[in-house]
Symmetry: C2
Subunit: 293 residues, 2 copies
Amino acid sequence: MTIIDGKKISDDIKLEIANQVKDIVSKGNRPPHLAAILVGHDGGSETYVAHKIRACEQCGFKSTLLRFEEDVTEQELLQAIKSLNDDDSVDGFIVQLPLPKHINEQNIIEAIDYKKDVDGFHPINVGRMSIGLPCFKSATPAGIMMLLERYNIDTKGKKCVVLGRSNIVGKPVATLLMQKGNPGNATVTVCHSYTPDIKEICLQSDIIIAALGSPEFVKADMVKEGAVIIDVGTTRVKDNSRKSGYKLTGDVDFENVSKKCSYITPVPGGVGPMTIVSLMNNTLLAATKAIYK
Amino acid sequence: MTIIDGKKISDDIKLEIANQVKDIVSKGNRPPHLAAILVGHDGGSETYVAHKIRACEQCGFKSTLLRFEEDVTEQELLQAIKSLNDDDSVDGFIVQLPLPKHINEQNIIEAIDYKKDVDGFHPINVGRMSIGLPCFKSATPAGIMMLLERYNIDTKGKKCVVLGRSNIVGKPVATLLMQKGNPGNATVTVCHSYTPDIKEICLQSDIIIAALGSPEFVKADMVKEGAVIIDVGTTRVKDNSRKSGYKLTGDVDFENVSKKCSYITPVPGGVGPMTIVSLMNNTLLAATKAIYK
C-alpha cells in the first residue's frame, strides 16, 4: 500500500513553478501576480488564504491580499473585482468563499473576467472544461488529476466512483476522469445522497473519489482489495486533545481502509496541498497567457 | 411495455407553445423569431433544417433561413453571426452542424451571443447547465428529460447508464440526470469506448440512455427486465428496399429489447422529434426573456 504524498508532490510542483518563474524574471519580465479578496475573519478562510499567499512566495509570485469587513456590500465587492479585471499588473485573482449571506456568490463569480478566473469557477471555464477545451480547471479536481498522473495510476477503462456531486469537486472531477486523456478514459459513476446502494457500487470500483464532506463515510467493508482511494473530505471534527480544538477529518476511515487499498491519500497532506498548487499552476498559465491570449 | 411516443409528446408541446405564442401576439407583441444558418447542401442537414422551419410554423414562430455555399469563409460566417447577434428582431439562432472542414466550429459556436444560443452549445450555457443555473439546455438532453417527465418515469435514486460521452448528448444528459430535480437525482454511470464491461453495467441499470451512434449496439441480453430504454442513435443504414436508399437505425435492437423493457423510445419517432421541440422551447424562452434579460 502506498500513501499518496500530496505534500511532497505539491512541493515538487511548486519548485518546478519557481524555476519557471526564475526563467521568466531572468528574461526581464515581472513575476506572475495573484490577488485574493478576503471578506470577514472566518478562521477557515483566513487559514486558506494564508496558505495561498505562502505558496505564492514559494513559487516566486507576487501576491496581493484585499481585505473587506463582513458588512461589505455586493456593490463594493463588484467594484473591487472590476478594478482587478482592469489591472494589467494582476494575472489572476480569487474571491475566497464562502461569502456573507447578503452577497450573491454567483454574481461575484460571474463578475470575474474569465481570463483571470484562476479558481475556474466562472461558467465559461466550467463549460470549456466540460467540452474538453483549454481552460482554467478548478483547483481541487485538477489537483486530483495531477496526483493520479504523478503516481502513474492508470485510469483508462477503470471503474471509478465519485461520491458527491458538488459543483467544485464531484461534477468536475467526474468530467475530467471520463474525458479522453491520461489520466482520463475511466468509466465514471457519480453517487450522492439519493443513491441507495453506495456500498455495492464502491465495492465494484477500482478508484474511489470521496467528496461528500461526511467524516469517515468510506469504511473498509466498502472497499475492494487493491482499490485506489482519493479522499477529498476535510471536515473539522471537535478534538479537545488538540491545541486548535479540532482535527481535520477526511471522508475515509483511513486506519482500516488503508489496510486494503493499493493507494490512499491522507487527510491532511493528500488532496489539500494539491488544491493550492493547482491555483499556483493556473496563475502561471494566466501570466504566460497559455490558455487565453 | 410502453413505447414512448416522442412524436405525440412533441406535438403536444408544440401545441402548448403555439397557444403561448397566440397569447403573446394577442397582447400586441411580435411572435418569437428563430433564424438558422445552413452551409452547403448536405442531405441530413437539409432535412434537419427543413424540420426545424416546419416546427417554427407549427408553433407560430417566425423563421429565417440564411443559406451559404460550401465555400463560405469563416470570416463571412462570423459576420453573419454578428448581424444576427445585433438584430433585435431575432430572438435566437442556430448554425446547423457539421460545418465544412475549413471552418473552425468552435470559433463559430463561441461567436454566437449566449443569450441567443438556443442550441445551448456556447460554453457559458454548457457551464451554467453543469452548475445547475438557468440556461439554454442543449436540445437532445433537454428533450430526453422532457420525455422522462411527461411519462412520469421516476429517476430518483435509480441506476442510470449513459452510453457515449459526446459533448452534445452523453456528457450533458449525464449532468442533468445526476442533478437535483425531477427528473434527476439518479446515480449515473457514463460508459464509452474504453469501458470493458458495458454489458455488465447495462444489466445493473434501471435506465439506459444509448448515445453511441452504433446501430443496434444494445442487445436484449444486455438489458435488465423492466428497464427504461432511451435510444438516441440515428445512424443511416443502407436499405435498398426504401425509396430513400437508407433506414434510420437506433443504437438499440428494438425488436428484441422491447420484449424485456418497461419503456422504450423507437427510432424514428422517439428522441428525434423531442430535439426539435426543445429548440422551439428554447426559442420561446429567449423571446420571453425567461432565462436572460
